[in-house]
């Protein structure tokens, strides 16, 4: 019986070795190319055979007995001694209060001093950068490749992502979503009456919930049959109504999508009529008190 088990273990170990060699071969042979599967199989196999060998060894070949041991008990004498020692040392100080306060003060000040340089990690106190966007009156809307977007190109059946011409596309204030809506159905506040020439609207593409890009139009909240267009965020499905100034109609977002006023240039291209209606992106404490700058 024992001999049998020994044979099994030896065989398993041989298999493990063979797989390990196979791994090296797979690695070395150029012709096999990207052979992640073979390599994984070989290396994993080698380890698996080794594991099996170990388990059979433990199960069949190692004689083991049950043993017992006492759970450790707390050593009260030692606790006592430590108490004594500390108390004894403490007793020699006469003005403990004073020294304690002074030490606390030194510790706290030094601690504060040591973490002060961490303030250079970012603009800690200045929150103005959060409101900045590259949009200015007259700045043209361009696509990813920098080609200006023409008003007559905006098809009502889809939506477009546009960026401010000449600015960094990756800034949180850059990307906007552009769509053409039925002008008769637009319900924008009165002061935004001129923001949507020919019914073309633009909103920040950054979700006001948690900064994902709102990249869904109508779906999945609105079956394609439902006539009302909606802008949807794929992260937590906040849904915004582009006809009603970006109002939240479903989901966790707390603010409407900031709207970008549009105008059409003499050449028929879309350009910003100013900055956004409010700060873009997720909320922070001051977000409702600030304007986009």
């Amino acid at each position: 019986m024992r001999r049998r088990s020994e044979t099994v273990v030896a065989l398993l170990l041989f298999c493990s070795a063979a797989c390990a060699v196979a791994f090296v071969v797979f690695y070395a042979i150029e012709k096999l190319g990207r052979n992640t599967q073979y390599m994984g199989l070989a290396l994993g196999g080698s380890l698996a055979f080794l594991a099996a060998a170990l388990i059979v060894t433990g199960d069949r070949l190692v004689e083991t007995e049950q043993i017992e041991e006492e759970y450790p008990l707390p050593d009260e004498a030692a606790q006592e001694q430590v108490d004594e020692l500390v108390a004894d040392t403490g007793r020699r100080f006469t003005r403990k209060r004073l020294l304690g306060t002074a030490a606390g003060l030194a510790g706290a000040s030094l601690g504060a001093a040591l973490i002060t340089p961490a303030a250079s990690l970012g603009p800690v106190l200045d929150t103005d950068p959060l409101t900045r966007t590259p949009w200015r009156r007259g700045r043209r809307l361009v696509d990813t490749h920098g080609t200006p977007l023409r008003a007559d190109e905006v098809d009502p059946k889809t939506f477009y992502t546009a960026y401010p011409e000449g600015a960094d596309h990756d800034l949180i204030g850059s990307p906007v979503i552009v769509a053409r809506l039925d002008p008769g159905r637009l319900r924008l506040p009165r002061d935004r009456a001129a923001w949507a020439p020919e019914g073309i609207v633009a909103y920040s593409k950054i979700c006001t919930h948690a900064a994902c890009a709102v990249s869904l139009f109508r779906t999945p909240r609105f079956p394609p049959t439902q006539p009302r267009p909606a802008i949807v965020c794929p992260c937590h499905y906040s849904t915004f109504d582009p006809a009603e100034a970006g109002k939240v109609i479903f989901g966790p977002a707390g603010r409407p999508l900031p709207q970008l006023p549009l105008m059409v240039t003499a050449a028929g291209e879309l350009a910003a009529g100013g900055n956004f209606s409010g700060p873009v992106g997720p909320s922070w404490s001051e977000v409702r008190n600030r304007r986009a700058t």
């Binding site: 390599m39 850059s174 992260c235």
Partner: protein, 454 residues
Amino acid sequence: MLRRAVRTLDERTGSAPFLHKALRYVFPDHWSFLLGEVALYAFIVLVATGVYLTLYFEPSLGKTVYHGTYGPLRGMQMSEAYKSVVDISYDVKAGLLIRQTHHWAADVFVAAIVLHLLRIFFTGAFRKPRDLTYLIGLMMLGLSLPEGYAGYSMVDDLLSGMGLAIGYSVALSIPVVGANVGQLIWGAPYPGAHSFESRLYIAHVFIFPILIGTLLAVHLALVASRHHTQFRRRKADGQRRVIGVPAFPGQAPKSLGLMVGTAALLFLLGGLVQINPIWLWGPYETGLSTNGAQPDWYLGWLIGAMRLVPGFDVTIGRYTLVPNPLWGGLLFPTLVFAVIGLWPFAERRLTRDRRVHNVLDRPRDAPWRTALGAGFLTFVLLVFFAGSADRAYVSYNVDYSTQIWIYRALLITAPVAVTWLTRRICLGLQRSDEIDEEREAAEREARQAAQAPA
């Protein structure tokens, strides 16, 4: 040979007594005691594969154009970081194997910790004198979440970018100081300064691993110093003496086998089962996102929480006190960890049981703990599953908003129902135990009575 080695070592380090003690360390035998070990072994694989990956990964957001092997991305602009991971996947030999193994190991690591935690909780192994060990374990779980998040975020593919955007918003949502905290961590408004990538990187490969490793060492030292707990045995004073197989030779081959077996599983997964194919997601830009994106499983509960919270910011006039992402992204996980972390102390208060416990409870032995634990687990699991409601929408066509309302309703009712039911089951099991005992006692008596005349 061996004897020489032991002698040489002992003469110089005096380690023989310690070694002997270590070899005779007692392991009580139960399969569920091995879950923590699996986490440990996954951690070892993580460190090993992780070191390998750092040799190729480039933590830089500098822009470059891809000219590598993978056709669809050729000519595209991307960050150095993303490009280096595509290169690891396509042009470094065995690179994809190591990368996928690393990713799988992370998922298994957290899963093993969670299962281990459940085992510890439902058997009452967290009680004095092991409450400190428990808290340290919980801290490791808490650290492993941002560790994993930083890991997949620094790749700068589309999914990692979406994850970071959410993380940034959660930072911003901290009351009063959120904007300051967010800018401090990111270095600038989202997507942040270029140095943000280095910060993620050093957090992922140094700060968090060192913290986890240190806590791991303390955790293991504490386990060893207080000894393992054990289940109740007949005819043995389990409270005073621990019974089991010695580390050597009894436990050693089993544990080694488990270690090698865990590694085998991870490499097989890494080789055969694709995970996070970042070349398909493409590089991240602030203006891009994709539908149906899912984070790694261990962050799924946060997505779920953020989806279930109704849409409102708490405002005072024009001052925004609590932006919405705070609830799901920060308060919910904090609450969950707080409940788990404070439980041992709450239980001690409520049961007035301040004794030392070396013998485990079976779940039925502590009906209230088991019931409340099951209820709480139901709550967290429901939130977790809500995180995949959009998948259910796509796969089964159940309206998304309907699902959200169903989940909200279940969150209120199901935990209560589960708590009640679990308690009933525990009491039922206790009762049937009693009946069994009575029957056995009666049988014993009958046998004795039968033998007596003879």
